[in-house]
């Protein structure tokens, strides 16, 4: 079932499938978030936004708006 990173739960892992937003997608690609890579949802900031994810051993912080453009499969 297709879902996006914003819908993942802390500790959950998934595989990046694609990006819904071209502009954000280009920037995420540069940070190493390539389709086919595993992504782990670590934790959220106290108000639920931004979120912290790990991709190939790097911890990144993303806003919910940014995370929701990343579709994942798991």
């Amino acid at each position: 079932m297709a879902k996006n990173v914003a819908e993942m739960l802390p500790g959950e892992t998934a595989i990046i499938a694609g990006f819904a937003d071209e502009q954000i997608g280009l920037k995420l690609l540069e940070l190493g978030l390539l389709p086919g890579t595993a992504i782990r949802f670590n934790f959220t900031a106290p108000f639920g936004d931004p979120v912290c994810v790990s991709v190939s051993d790097v911890d990144l912080s993303l806003r919910i708006d940014e995370a929701s453009t990343i579709s994942v499969i798991n």
């Binding site: 954000i24 690609l29 540069e30 190493g32 389709p35 106290p46 190939s56 911890d59 912080s61």
Partner: protein, 703 residues
């Protein structure tokens, strides 16, 4: 190459250890300038590579790829894609974080395609070893066709090998990573021939980001755009495919060069710390605890060196006054220039301490978590998580604070941050606050614990903070933008701060303050000294006679007469006339012309208020606070017969100083950072208007 000296640029992603390496290579032999045409700090220094090669080292802002996001990053693209530029490096050192090679390689593959001679410095080998990672460096080097050295930039290991490599001739890699698609080859060829470029990839960047390359002239840009349009080249079309292709190459490379990957839980400690520091409740408590500590440091610890500087300069000024021959030139030195310099130097302890704290937080990796914690709240007010650092710096001085906004990529959020930062109570407001609070607030304790004066002081700081936040919120609706705002940033692994880096940051920020703010403060101090010392000659020459006649019955000592003469002269000087001129304007706030003179003087720096007030009330030594307090307390308002400094007047003044934009140096910096007079003028009008209105309300309500 010029005069046998080579230019070397350091580049790499943020947090890869660039600053540490730069500091190791150059030591104290470094200076901060500006890149031509843009206001981005250019950190450069010199390094002796071997006995006959000297290198000029330029530290470039951290960047992931040649597609820039922030103002800082644009300069990197600029430099690497203009081979004809005089800043174009002869050699490049790419600093790669060995624990996270994948992310560091993207930029490297772009440099390879630009045919730039590059050395790869594998940093953080200690962490890599700890994580169980094992890299076949020889293999990596041969696959990249570039030299690779292992270094530990924190400890300085491997620096010698790096220097030796850089002193030797270095050729560019012969690899070609990005294969340009056939359909765009013709258009690339046109651009490459037209500008006689060295590589296809350079031509590709001309087409991809025409507007980011500010070295192109208007006509050149129009030409590139016309060619792109004619051949239907759409800038963003190929960027995604390019990145994917590059990562394909990188993955293949790493599959071959990484002998053993890092085990999964080497970041366990860092993640553990994160659980505490970004905790729902605990995270904020810790952050506010840290803020409290910083405040404590600025106020309590900085006081000792500040008192020392204050008394030293007062003494120096006095000695010069009595030792130097009489005459306007020597008076200018002893009473204009020396106190002017003193007024700059006195802020150095607070600025140094605050930036030491900020540098420690940044070095340790905690600042990224602060951005993470604060982003949502800050965004509600039109700001960005990254606005936290500038706002905090604003407590020391708005000038380095405004310069720190360059890391905010969204123009609107950056502008709002610049606009509201001067509301944060800077160190120049503190002396004004201290003396006025001491004057009007009784020195008693609430519940035997909280000091009333301390509470009021804290209230004023909070007031400034809230003014900043709410102004930002209002601006959010006024400024329109189509530019999107992003956060996307790496949360670096926690590390112990590297102390020399903290030291270099302190030196850098202090220098910025001294040279940027200092020269404006000094210039205005001199102008003010002239205004305060000169007036219509007939009135000024009369001073001694009039004072003697007035006070002949008072049996005054010689010194007291001197002070009265000085006060008389000040009243009749041009500054005095100015004060009297604005009196009708400030009367509704409860101020008289004497306070008017002090307000005008505050345009040099706010703390000049204290010295000016002392002079007006004919008190000779400015460092004697109790005397000033005593004198202010006994000052009578001729209209009411009661004291001049009633709580209403004092509060009104305090509020005025909290809000008003009274700092010429800040306006100059805002003008530079926003490239025009529009924003500094709006800021001046808005802040001073708000100050006037609030002081008016406070005075009218309280009296």
């Amino acid at each position: 190459m010029e005069n046998g000296r080579i230019r070397i640029a350091l580049t790499g992603k943020p947090n890869a250890g660039k600053s540490s390496l730069f500091n190791h290579l150059t030591g104290l032999n470094q200076k901060i300038g500006n890149f031509p045409g843009v206001t981005v700090d250019k950190r450069m220094g010199y390094c002796q590579l071997d006995s006959n090669t000297q290198a000029e080292i330029v530290d470039l802002p951290g960047i992931y790829s040649l597609y820039p996001r922030t103002l800082d990053e644009k300069i990197v693209t600029e430099i690497f894609s203009d081979q004809k530029s005089e800043l174009y490096p002869d050699k490049v050192v790419l600093i790669a974080d060995a624990t996270n090679l994948k992310n560091c390689m993207l930029l490297l593959t772009q440099l390879i395609d630009l045919r730039i001679p590059t050395v790869v410095a594998l940093n953080m080998m200690d962490l890599a070893a700890k994580s169980g990672l094992s890299i076949d460096v020889k293999r990596l080097s041969s696959l990249l066709d570039l030299p690779v050295v292992m270094i530990n930039a924190r400890k300085g290991h491997g620096i010698y090998e790096l220097k030796r490599l850089l002193a030797e001739p270095l050729s560019a890699s012969r690899k070609s990573v990005f294969q340009i698609e056939d359909e765009i080859k013709p258009v690339i060829a046109i651009i490459r021939n037209h500008f006689t470029l060295a590589t296809d990839y350079e031509a590709y960047h001309f087409l991809q980001q025409t507007d980011n390359l500010i070295f192109l002239t208007q006509e050149q840009r129009a030409f590139v755009k016309a060619v792109a349009k004619e051949h239907q080249f759409f800038p963003h079309k190929y960027q995604g495919a390019e990145t994917v292709m590059r990562y394909g190459f990188i993955q293949e490379l790493l599959n071959k060069a990484i002998v053993k990957p890092s085990h999964r839980d080497w970041k366990r400690v860092s993640h553990g710390i994160d659980r505490v520091l970004t905790h729902k409740v605990g995270g904020y408590l810790i952050f506010f605890g840290v803020l409290f500590l910083i405040f404590q440091a600025i106020f309590a610890w900085a006081q000792i060196p500040m008192d020392f500087i204050d008394s030293s300069f007062a003494r120096l000024s006095n000695i010069l006054s009595s030792e130097l021959p009489e005459g306007p030139f020597f008076e200018l030195i002893s009473q204009g220039i020396v106190p002017g310099i003193g007024g700059i130097v006195i802020f150095i302890p607070q600025i140094a301490i605050l930036f030491a704290c900020i540098a420690i937080l940044e070095e340790s990796g905690y600042m990224a978590r602060v951005v993470f914690l604060m982003d949502k709240a800050m965004r509600k007010f039109g700001l960005n998580g990254k606005s936290v650092v500038p706002l905090m710096s604003g407590w020391a001085c708005a000038i380095p604070a405004i310069m720190a906004t360059r890391t905010i990529d969204n123009w609107k959020e950056r502008l709002i941050t610049i606009f509201v930062t001067p509301f944060m109570s800077c160190s120049a407001r503190l002396p004004v606050f201290t003396i006025l609070v001491a004057l009007i607030i009784p020195d008693v304790k609430l519940f035997g614990f909280f000091n009333y004066q301390g509470l009021v002081l804290m209230g004023l700081y909070l007031l400034g903070f809230f003014a900043a936040i709410f102004s930002a919120w209002a601006m959010k609706f006024i400024i329109k933008t189509t530019e999107r705002s992003f956060l996307m940033m790496e949360l670096p692994t926690y590390r112990m701060p590297r102390w020399p880096n903290v030291g270099y940051t302190i030196i850098e920020k202090t220098k910025t303050f001294v040279f940027e703010a200092g020269r404006v403060i000094l210039a205005i101090s001199i102008i003010l000294w002239v205004l305060k010392s000169y007036g219509p000659p007939d009135e000024m020459n009369d001073a001694k006679r009039v004072v003697k006649a007035e006070s002949s019955s008072l049996q005054l000592s010689e010194a007291e007469i001197e002070n009265r003469v000085a006060a008389y002269k000040l009243e009749h000087s041009y500054a005095g006339k100015l004060g009297k001129g604005i009196e009708p304007l400030i009367r509704p706030l409860g101020f008289d012309w004497k306070i008017g003179i002090a307000l005008v003087s505050s345009f040099a720096a706010r703390e000049v208020f204290v010295g000016t007030i002392a002079a007006i009330y004919s008190i000779s030594s400015t460092e004697d606070q109790p005397t000033i307090k005593q004198r202010l307390r006994s000052e009578i308002n001729p209209e009411t017969g009661g004291p001049r400094y009633t709580p209403a007047v004092g509060m009104s003044l305090l509020i005025f100083y909290t809000f008003a934009m009274q700092c010429m140096s800040t306006l100059a910096i805002v003008k530079r950072e926003t490239k025009g007079w529009k924003w500094p003028l709006i800021q001046l009008a808005y802040m001073t208007g708000l100050a006037y209105l609030s002081a008016f309300i406070v005075y009218q309500v309280m009296s």
